[in-house]
Amino acid sequence: MALDVAWAQTWVRRTAEVIAENRDELIELDRQIGDGDHGENMKRGFTAVVAKLDGLEAPPEQVGDVLKLVATTLMSTVGGAAGPLYGTAYLRAAKVAGLAELDGPAVVAVLEAALEGIVARGKATTGEKTMVDAWTPAVNAAQEASGNGSSPAAVLDVAAAAAEAGATATIPMLATKGRASYLGERSIGHQDPGATSTALILRAAADTAAA
C-alpha cells in the first residue's frame, strides 16, 4: 500500500500486535542480560499508543502526526531506557515526515532521523550490543535500496532484513552500554533485546507496506 497516513496507523497497530506477541521473548532476552522489563515496558507503551489512536477525534493529516503521537506516548509510558530512546527516535522521525505520503527517499530520511535520535540520546555507537546495531545496518540498507530506485515498500523490506541480521549479530558482542554492561563478559552469547524490538518494529513497517 502507499505509505500514507492510513499506512502509518496500520504500521503502529501492527507493531503493537507483534510486540504483544513477542512480549515473553523480549522479557526473556532482557532477563538474560538486563532487568527483564523490556517486553512488558514495550507492550505497555504500544498498548497506550493504540488507545491514543483509538481516541483521536480527527484523523491525523500527515505521517509525522502519527509518529509524534507514538513518540510522546512512549516517552511517558514505557518507563525503561527504551522510552527515551524510542521516544526520541519517533520524535526525530516525525520531524522529517511532515508529509501526506512517504516515497523511497522520505523513508530513508525517516530511518536516518530515528537513528540519529537514538545515538544522540543513548550516546552509543555500533558494536556495543544495543539497538544501534540494528538501526545502523537498516539505515545503510535503506540508503542503498533507495539509491537504486527501489519502491518505498522494498526499501522498508531490506531495512527490516538488515535490522534482523543486525539483531542476530549482537549475540557475540560484549555489552558496554546500559544495564547489560554490568555483566561484562557474561553479556556475550545473548541477543540484545533493544536490537530485537527494533527488528520487530521495522518488520511490521515492511509487512504492512507490502500488504
Binding site: D35, D37, N41, R44, M75, S76, V78, G79, G80, A81, G83, P84, L85, G87, T88, R121, G122, K177, G178, R179
Partner: protein, 234 residues
Amino acid sequence: MTAGVALVLVSHSADVAAGTAEIAGQMAPDVLLLPAGGIPEGIGTSVDRVMAAVEEGLQTCPGGVVVMTDLGSAVLTTDLVLEMVDDAERVKVPRAPFVEGAVAAAVAAQQGGDLAAVEAAALEAGVSFAPEGAAAPEASDEVDAAGQDGQVTALVTLRNPLGLHARTAAQVARAVADAGVPVRIEGVDGASVLALMALGTTGGQEITVSATGPDAQSAVDTVVALVEGGFGEV
C-alpha cells in the same frame, strides 16, 4: 523558608527516591527535596514524574535544580526532560552515587550554596565514596599497553594550584567526551569527573595524557591545551 537550590531525586524505585529524600531532609530541613521515583506500575523512570518535579523545583527555587539519578534510564529520562523544559540551564545533573550525592548536595544547599556549589558537593561525595586512589570503574588496562598502534601520549604540567578538582575535572571530562575519543589521564578514564578528581592531583604535578586510534592526536592536544591554559585559575 526554602533554600535557593532544589534537589530532584530520580530513582527507578519510588521507595528509594522517597527514602533518600527522608535521609537528606534530616540534614537539610529547609531544602526542597522532590522525589521522582518509579512509574505507576512499579519499577522504572517516568518522564511525567521527573518533568513535574523539575518544573516545581524551578518555579519554587530561584537558584535552580540539581537532579540526582540512579541507573542508566534515569539519566536518559532526565536528559529528555531537560530538552523539554524552558530553563534547562538552571538544572544540573551530576554523575555521583545516588544517596551520598543527594545528602552532600542537600547539605550544600542548606548552607546556602549556589547551583555550582551544590553540584560540586554531589561530585565530591562520589570521590570520598570511592576507595583511596581508586581508578574509574570503567578503567581497564587495555589502553595502557605501551607501544600499541597509533597511541599518542603527552606529558603536561598542571599550572593551576588546585589541579583537577571538581570544576576543572568537569571541564576536562567534557572536552574528552566532546572529542569522542577515549583519553586516559594518569591511567584513568579522562571522561569521568569522579576518576579525575580521585587522582588527587595538585598544581605543579606532571600528568600523562594518552589516547589511541584515529583523532587520538587532536583529542590529546585538546586536553593538553586546557591544562596549559590553567583553566582560568592562573
